[in-house]
């Protein structure tokens, strides 16, 4: 016993010696910025709590979907899918069986898709949700983008999952060089953009247009999120500290934050938003990212700016609307 105790003591001492210096060098928390976002109360059904907003998408100011993951009382740590729809007047909740709580895309008022845990997809036809499990896809679907009958899903590996309106595919495009893909972006022009991060290479974009892939270098540092309002206004955003903007001619690097970025949305070359860890909210004014605050230091996952309406952000502290 004494020998074991000695070993543990030595290990603890060694561990302390290694970890103490790094623990003592924590960076100060940056100024969160002015309070510019107000909470939006959601009609959370009885029995649910700890509602975390995961995605916000819509087709306009009167058709907005908020996809959340929520605890249900009495089920310990279990989380359930819960969606809220805004019709321009009120929010209406709907239960999402099967936890498709990772990502949502609103293509039309009667064509909305949510994806998530272990190959689960849910479709809204304008009246109700229908949930399916893609047989053989036993892993999480992370982000869905696309157009009517043409969906693309990132799965944190070199393959993408595709739906052509009748069949689900898994495809591994050689053009991506085996890069692991965790996010995607679909332009209204019908082009699919994919971050292409490979060790020892400058991070780039894979662009699928008219059935052919091409690769475009962006810049060093890694790309984890894409956004944009059109082919001449694109954002490639890193997890920490950097982002790249494409104006139709070249990629330009802009600093962001040392908090992890978890969501991005752009509406024009002078309006874009980043959200992330520690309540991070950054707003783009056409020349730089500036800090903004929703008055919370919890994780922010989602951002969406409906055309002609105030932008929305959300996360562990719920949903917020810009003042």
């Amino acid at each position: 016993m004494s020998r074991g105790r000695t070993v543990l003591t030595l290990l603890s001492a060694l561990l302390g010696a290694i970890l103490l210096p790094s623990a003592c060098m924590k960076k100060p928390i940056a100024d969160p910025g002015p309070l510019e976002w107000d909470p939006v109360p959601l009609p959370i059904p009885a029995g649910y709590d700890n509602v975390t907003v995961k995605t916000i998408r819509g087709t306009g100011a009167k058709d907005i979907w908020v996809l959340t993951s929520a605890h249900r009382s009495g089920d310990g740590g279990m989380r359930y899918g819960l969606a809220f729809h805004y019709d321009g007047v009120a929010w209406t909740p709907s239960d999402l069986p099967g936890r498709p709580t990772r990502s949502l895309i609103a293509i039309a008022p009667d064509d909305v898709w949510a994806v998530g845990a272990y190959g689960t997809v849910a479709h809204w036809d304008g009246h109700s949700w229908t949930t399916s499990k893609i047989d053989g896809i036993d892993y999480d679907l992370l982000e869905v983008v696309g157009w009517h009958d043409d969906l693309w899903i990132a799965v944190a590996d070199s393959n993408l999952v595709h739906f052509d309106g009748s069949r689900w595919y898994s495809i591994t495009p050689p053009a991506l060089g085996g890069a692991s893909v965790s996010s995607l972006f679909a332009l209204t022009t019908g082009e699919l953009l994919v971050p292409r991060n490979l060790e020892g290479q400058t991070p780039s974009l894979g662009r699928l247009a008219k059935g052919a892939w091409r690769v475009e270098p962006v810049g060093p540092g890694g790309i984890v999120h894409l956004a944009g309002s059109g082919p001449r206004d694109l954002w490639a955003v890193g997890a920490f500290n950097h982002s790249y903007h494409f104006d139709g001619f070249a990629w330009t690097r802009f600093p962001t934050s040392d908090s992890r970025v978890l969501g991005v949305f752009a509406t024009s070359s002078t309006e874009a938003y980043l959200v992330g860890e520690s309540g991070l909210v950054l707003a783009w004014n056409g020349s730089s990212w500036t800090r903004s605050s929703a008055g919370t230091s919890t994780r922010m996952w989602a951002v969406y700016a409906p055309p002609g309406a105030k932008p929305l952000i959300g996360g562990e502290a719920g949903l917020f609307r810009h003042r």
Binding site: G4, L8, L11, P21, C24, D135, I137, A156, S180, S182
Partner: protein
């Protein structure tokens, strides 16, 4: 099983079909159902509470049947896992044909990695399925065209090592988690978990929370090489301490020796893996940062002292 064809947007394409939820029970769901007994549930209640204190969560990640789409891969493919119905090749010792290579993995995938902002847990889970599916697909085919037989312990272990490595490499490449470098645990501890889980279940204890908690704590893929190593050295130290205690009693001495041996093997293997995964670089960086901070402190102190002396001189 997907139907794979070549072509289509420049790559191999696998077609899948969508099924209504909830998924119908798989062929092995009944044999692998999680046991629930008063003593087992009481133990797991304590495990869940203790785990929550460490910032992890060892509850099931999936939902009850009416809402659930859990990961059925290891149950549906249990017949291809090592040890199916014949653990260690010792059929007589195998309790009611427990598919040991599948049970631990099934519980693991459904009980770990709940908080995953960087996607590393998800990447590991995904690659484990992909890697083992490829190994199963490579098995000899029977007359019905389906794979026959079992993949090996080495293949399952290799699938884990590769899943950790490839996921962490991807997280480094895209910058989403530049410090994730905790390699997969040593094969001795892995075997203990893999074959211990079904034995626990035979005793009426759902191995999910314990499996989940031990992976959360000792094999978190988001840990640095150093923190993963330190945690596992604590585990190895505990094993050696327990083994030395057992050696004091002649009846338990052989088991004690084996436990000590497992601890020593784990310590050596995990140190090697951590070094390979860049632990010494992490130490160098930490020492460099500390030295830099100390250097800056000294420089600032000297500057302040110089300024103060200068001001004093000025007063004179």
């Amino acid at each position: 099983m997907p139907d794979v064809t070549r072509g289509g947007l420049g790559g191999d394409v696998a077609y899948y079909r969508a099924m209504a939820t909830p998924k119908p029970p798989g062929p092995n769901d009944k044999a692998m159902a999680e046991p629930h007994t008063p003593w087992g549930d009481a133990i797991n209640s304590v495990v869940n509470k203790v785990t929550s204190l460490t910032g992890y969560d060892s509850h099931r990640v999936t939902d009850p049947p009416n809402h659930g789409t859990d990961n059925p891969f290891y149950r549906d493919n249990a017949q291809h896992m090592p040890g199916w119905g014949n653990t260690f090749g010792l059929g007589a010792l195998d309790p009611h044909g427990v598919p040991s290579g599948a049970t631990a993995q099934d519980r693991a995938t459904n009980y770990v990695g709940q908080d995953d902002p960087t996607g590393v847990w998800n990447g590991v889970r995904k690659r484990l399925v992909t890697n083992q599916q490829a190994d199963i697909d490579a098995l000899p085919k029977g007359p019905d065209g389906k794979p026959q037989g079992n993949i090996s312990f080495g293949q399952v272990y290799g699938a884990h090592v590769d899943a950790y490595h490839d996921t962490q490499a991807a997280a480094h490449a895209d910058g989403s988690n530049p410090t994730a470098a905790n390699g997969f645990i040593d094969p001795g501890s892995f075997a203990l978990a893999m074959y211990g889980a079904p034995l626990m279940e035979h005793l009426g204890i759902n191995s999910g929370p314990i499996t989940g908690a031990s992976i959360d704590y000792f094999n978190d893929p988001t840990d640095t090489a150093t923190s993963g190593w330190a945690k596992r050295m604590g585990l190895a130290g505990g094993e050696m301490a327990a083994g030395s205690t057992m050696m004091m009693n002649p009846l338990t001495a052989p088991a004690g020796l084996a436990t000590m041996g497992l601890g020593a093997f784990g310590a050596a293997w995990n140190t090697g893996t951590a070094v390979k995964n860049g632990m010494l670089d992490e130490w160098g960086n930490a020492i460099g940062d500390t030295a830099g901070a100390v250097g800056n402190g000294i420089a600032n102190g000297a500057k302040g002292l110089g300024k103060g002396l200068g001001n004093l001189t000025g007063l004179w």
